[in-house]
Subunit: 432 residues, 2 copies
C-alpha cells in the first residue's frame, strides 16, 4: 500500500469509525457469540498473497463486530469507563505515523519533552503539590506508564531499591538479600493506598496513613486509577488531600479523562528514586546530552525499554476540550450517577450499598445474594445493558458505572426501567 | 468535537500523515534542538477554553516536528527498525475506536479470540513447534505483550512460580522464602538466551543450551526481539533451531514486521505455567464462561490488567502484505545490509566487525576507539544520517542498521559516500 492508497483507505477508515461510533447505540452492547466462535470463521494460516482492503473491512463487520463488547455504547455500565474521544483518536493517528520509540531524549526529543510538560499541565490541573512537578529545575516530575499495575510495580521496585541503599549506607555489612528478606509492603485490602477502589469507589484516609509513612520513612504510593480524573474539579479535589505525604501518585487518564488507552499518569517527588532503580545504559542508547543533568531519559522511569509518543493524546485532548470541557464531562457523569441513585432510592425493593461519590452506584435488591446473582444474570442475558458485580462485605452487589462519553439521562432512565422490569419478572418467578 | 467534525478532521489528519511520510526524506533525520527547547514554546498550563484543531495542527509542524528524530526517514540507520506500515496505521484507527479493554474473554470476545488465532498464524509462519500453538485444544499458545522486557519478566516470574511449586511438592516443609533465596537465573552477557543481540545481532547456540536446560528442568526463555521476524523466510529459519527446547519464546513484530509498536509476540508451551503465576480473579472480572476450560482470559498472561485490541494490527498487516510480501520486505533489508557490507569491504581504511547475518552491519575505521568516536560524532553532527555505536570486545564500533520501510540502495549508497567523506576529512584533520 502506497501513500496514495493510504489517503483513500485512511479516509474510508475514518468514515467507518465515525459510522461505528454514531450508530453504536443501535448495536447490542454485549455479543451473542460463544467461546471459540472466531476460529472457524477465518483461515487457519495467513494468506500467501495479499488480500484486498475491501475484503478486510467487510470481515471487520462480519467477523469482528459480532464478537465485540461495545465499551462505548451508552448502554455499557460495566467495569469503569475506558476513555475514547475524537481528539485522542486524531492524536493517535499522528503518533503512529511518527512512530518514534522514545526511550531516550535523543531518540526523539519532542516525545520526551512534550510528555514532561503535559505531565506538568495535568499535575497543575489536579493541583498536585509543586514537589511533584518537573518545572524548570524541580526534583520531581511525571511519566506516562502503560497501566496502574505498572506504576505500582515501578513504585514498589523504587521503594525497595531506596530502602536497601539506605540500610546498606547505615550498616555496610548488610547484604541485599538479608535486607530484602525483612522488607514488608503494606497494603489495604484493595492494594496500596487507593482513592476510588474498583469495587465500590471507596477512599483510603491519606491524612491518617500519610504522616505515619513519613514518620517511619516508608514509601507511600497512591493509586487513584479511576477517581483521579475527577480531581480537576475543585469540588472533588478534597478527595486528594494528603497527597502531599506521598512519594508517588498515579491515576489513569485512559479511564475517565478522554485520553484513549494507554495513558497512566504517574508522578514522583524525587525522580532520582526511579532512575536509581531502573538505570540502563548500554552504549547504543548513550547520547551527548545525557550527563548534562538537563534532560530526561524516560527508559529509566519504567519497565519496558520502548515507548510511544503518548503525550500527543494528552495535548490534543487538553487543548480541544479545554479544562472547562473536561470538568463539564466529569460533572455530567457524576450527576448521572446521582440521578441513577435517586431512581434506585425511589423503589423500596432496592437498596444503595455504598456512598455515591463519583460515577459509580453500587446497588442491589433487598434480599439474598442468590436473588441478586439471578437478577444480574437476567440483565446480562437480555444484553440490552451490561453490568458487572462486586462483593461488599460478603454481599453480592451490582455495579452501575457511568461509562460512555455519549451517555445521557435518557439512557440511564431507560436502563433503570429495564432493571426494574427484570426485577419484577424475577420476583414474580420466585413467588410462583 | 462531534462525529461530523471528526470525519473532516480525521481526513485532514490522514492527509497530514501521508504528506509527512511521503516527504520524510527531505526532513533532517536528527533534530537541531537543545534540551529544554519545547517548554518555552507552549503555555505553562492547559487552556481553560478549547483551542481549535487548526491551531493544534499548526503547532505540530511548528513545535513538535523540529524536535522529532525521524525514525522512518530512509536516512535513519540507528538502533533497530521500529515498524511502521499503512495497514497497521489503518488497524490502529479501528482499534482506538473500538476502544475495548480485553482483560477477559467477556470484556470483548473478538479481542481475545483474534489474538489467539493471529498468534497461531504467526507461529505457523515461523514454523514454531506445534507445542507452542493454541490450536483447538493445545496446551500452549501465544499472547501479545507490550515489549520484550515485559515478556522476559513474565517468563521469569512464571519460571519462579513453577520451580517453587515443584520443590514445595517434593518437600512440603520448604518455605517459599527459603526456595527463592537459592534460585539462580542464568543469562548470557546480553541477558537470557538471545537470537540477534542489539549490539551486533549475534546468536546464542540453542542446540547446546537447550538440552542442558531440559535435562536440569530449567525454564528456557528465548528472546529474538529483532531477529525473530526473519524466521518467516526459509533461508533464515535455521537460526531458530533449538526453539523446541524452550519453554517460552518471544520476538517483536513491532521491530521488523511492519506492525506498529506495541506488539511483542510471546509463546509458551504450557499456558498453565503463566496463568498459575498471574491469576487474578476479583468478582467484577468473573464471567459465565471462565471455568469452562474453553476460553482465554489474557489478564492472567501479563503484568498489566488492561490491554488494547492489538491483534487487529497483525491481521491487517498479514493480510495486506501476505506472507510473500513480508518475506520480500525482510529479504530486501538483508540484501541492503549485505550491499553496505560490500561497500565497507571495498575501502581498506574500514573493517567489518561482526558477521552480517540480517539487517545490521557493525563496522569501524581501522584504528583507535577515539578515532571512531570522532567519526561517529562527525556523522551525527552533520545530521544527514543517524547512527548509534556499540562496544564489541572493548572496541568502539559503529552500527549501520537497515531501518526504514522505504529505504532503497540509493540511500545506503549515499550514506556510505557521506561516511567515507567524513572519514577522509577526519583523517586529514588528524594528520594536520
Amino acid at each position: 500500500m502506497n501513500s496514495g492508497e493510504f489517503r483513500r483507505r485512511g479516509k474510508e477508515m475514518v468514515d467507518f469509525v465515525a459510522d461505528y461510533l454514531e450508530g453504536i447505540e443501535r448495536r447490542q452492547v454485549y455479543p451473542d457469540v460463544e467461546p471459540g466462535y472466531l476460529r472457524p470463521l477465518i483461515p487457519t494460516t495467513a494468506p500467501e498473497e495479499p488480500d484486498t482492503f475491501e475484503d478486510i473491512l467487510n470481515d471487520v463487520e462480519k467477523i469482528i463486530m459480532p464478537g465485540v463488547t461495545h465499551w462505548h455504547s451508552p448502554y455499557f455500565f460495566a467495569y469503569f469507563p475506558s476513555a475514547n474521544s475524537y481528539p485522542a483518536l486524531l492524536a493517535d493517528i499522528l503518533c503512529g505515523a511518527i512512530g518514534c520509540i522514545g526511550f531516550s531524549w535523543a531518540a526523539s526529543p519532542a516525545c520526551t519533552e512534550l510528555e514532561t510538560v503535559m505531565m506538568d499541565w495535568l499535575g497543575k490541573m489536579l493541583k498536585l503539590p509543586e514537589a511533584f512537578l518537573a518545572g524548570q529545575g524541580g526534583e520531581g516530575g511525571g511519566v506516562i506508564q502503560g497501566s496502574a499495575s505498572e506504576a505500582t510495580l515501578v513504585a514498589l521496585l523504587a521503594a525497595r531499591t531506596k530502602v536497601v541503599r539506605r540500610l546498606q549506607a547505615a550498616s555496610p555489612g548488610l547484604t541485599q538479600g538479608a535486607i530484602m528478606e525483612k522488607l514488608v509492603a503494606y497494603s489495604s485490602d484493595q492494594v496500596v493506598a487507593t482513592l476510588g477502589t474498583t469495587s465500590c469507589c471507596s477512599f483510603d484516609n491519606l491524612l491518617e496513613v500519610g504522616p505515619i509513612c513519613n514518620k517511619e520513612d516508608m514509601w507511600l504510593h497512591i493509586d487513584a486509577a479511576y477517581a483521579g480524573s475527577s480531581f480537576i474539579c475543585p469540588e472533588f479535589r478534597h478527595l486528594l488531600n494528603g497527597v502531599e505525604f506521598a512519594d508517588s501518585f498515579n491515576f489513569n487518564p485512559h479511564k475517565w479523562m478522554l485520553v484513549n488507552f494507554d495513558c497512566s499518569a504517574m508522578w514522583v517527588k524525587k525522580r532520582t528514586d526511579l532512575i536509581g532503580a531502573f538505570k540502563l545504559d548500554p552504549l547504543y542508547l548513550k547520547h551527548g546530552h545525557q550527563d548534562s543533568g538537563l534532560i530526561t531519559d524516560y527508559r529509566h522511569w519504567q519497565l519496558p525499554l520502548g515507548r510511544r509518543f503518548r503525550s500527543l493524546k494528552m495535548w490534543f485532548v487538553f487543548r480541544m476540550y479545554g479544562v472547562k470541557g473536561l470538568q463539564a464531562y466529569i460533572r455530567k457523569h457524576v450527576q448521572l450517577a446521582h440521578e441513577f441513585e435517586r431512581l434506585v432510592h425511589q423503589d423500596p425493593r432496592f437498596e444503595v450499598c455504598a456512598e455515591v461519590t463519583l460515577g459509580l452506584v453500587c446497588f442491589r435488591l433487598k434480599g439474598s445474594n442468590k436473588l441478586n446473582e439471578d437478577l444480574l444474570e437476567r440483565i446480562n442475558k437480555a444484553k440490552k445493558i451490561h453490568l458487572v458485580p462486586c462483593h461488599l462485605r460478603d454481599k453480592f452487589v451490582l455495579r452501575f458505572a457511568i461509562c460512555a462519553r455519549t451517555v445521557e439521562f435518557a439512557h440511564v432512565q431507560w436502563a433503570w426501567e429495564h432493571i426494574r422490569q427484570l426485577a419484577t419478572d424475577l420476583l414474580r418467578a420466585e413467588k410462583d
